[in-house]
């Protein structure tokens, strides 16, 4: 079942989408990823990872209402 989740964009993903955040309906992270890439083709060039509620995802995950997903390009700290 689809849930309304908060999606945050960081770094180059912010430039690719022109947004810092929005809400999107998605059932899981795999379908969210596909949805984002078709909505924002420029995201395809960015090897982004996702964090679910501030924790980096290692695989795919289901989504629940009020989850927060962060779209994170490779980290560049330091």
């Amino acid at each position: 079942m689809k849930a309304e989740v908060r999606v945050l964009y960081f770094g180059a993903a912010q430039e690719a989408t022109g947004k810092s955040e929005e809400t999107i309906m998605a059932a899981d992270t795999a379908s969210l990823r596909n949805q984002l890439i078709s909505r924002y083709p420029a995201l395809k060039q960015i090897p982004f990872r996702m964090a679910l509620n501030r924790t980096l995802l290692k695989g795919d995950s289901g989504l629940q209402k009020s989850d927060t997903i962060a779209i994170m390009p490779p980290f560049q700290g330091g």
């Binding site: 945050l8 960081f10 770094g11 964090a51 924790t55 962060a70 994170m72 980290f75 700290g77 330091g78």
Partner: protein, 140 residues
């Protein structure tokens, strides 16, 4: 630590460069532990790299702050459990604009003896690079 905000006691994200004054205050903050015979510090600075004939004059850093704070805490916990002689770990990273030559990352590890201080400092640095959700934008 009188000029350092309370939430920075161990580590944090600060706006702008990590100034020499702040660095000296951070260094002094470990002074009250006389058992810490070794202090190892890493300071990362913005480099004036040249790309396509343009020279970097500054870097603007951004972060997923809520996650970065959590990651920093986890890094510190991991380092402390991996190096038993470590007595404190400080991690400070800049946000916003930092000019070339200015410091944007400060790591300080204190320990009883030199071996764990130097190794844990390096380990902390690598974990910060790998785990901190921070991004940069070069300004020319």
């Amino acid at each position: 630590m009188k000029n350092i905000p309370l939430q920075m006691k161990n580590s944090c994200l600060i706006k702008g460069p990590i100034t020499p004054v702040l660095i000296s205050e951070l260094m002094a903050s470990g002074n009250d532990d006389a058992g810490a015979g070794a202090v190892s510090i890493f300071i990362g600075r913005v480099r004036d790299d040249e790309t396509d004939g343009k020279r970097v004059t500054a870097i603007e850093y951004s972060a997923y702050e809520e996650m970065a704070v959590k990651e920093v805490e986890e890094v510190i916990t991991t380092v402390r459990s991996a190096f038993s002689d470590v007595r404190s770990v400080f991690i400070v990273h800049s946000l916003g604009v930092v000019m070339a030559g200015e410091a944007s990352l400060f790591i300080m590890v204190t320990s009883g003896h030199r071996d764990h201080a130097t190794r844990a400092c390096r380990h902390t640095l690598e974990m910060v690079k790998e785990r901190l959700p921070v991004w940069k934008k070069e300004l020319y």
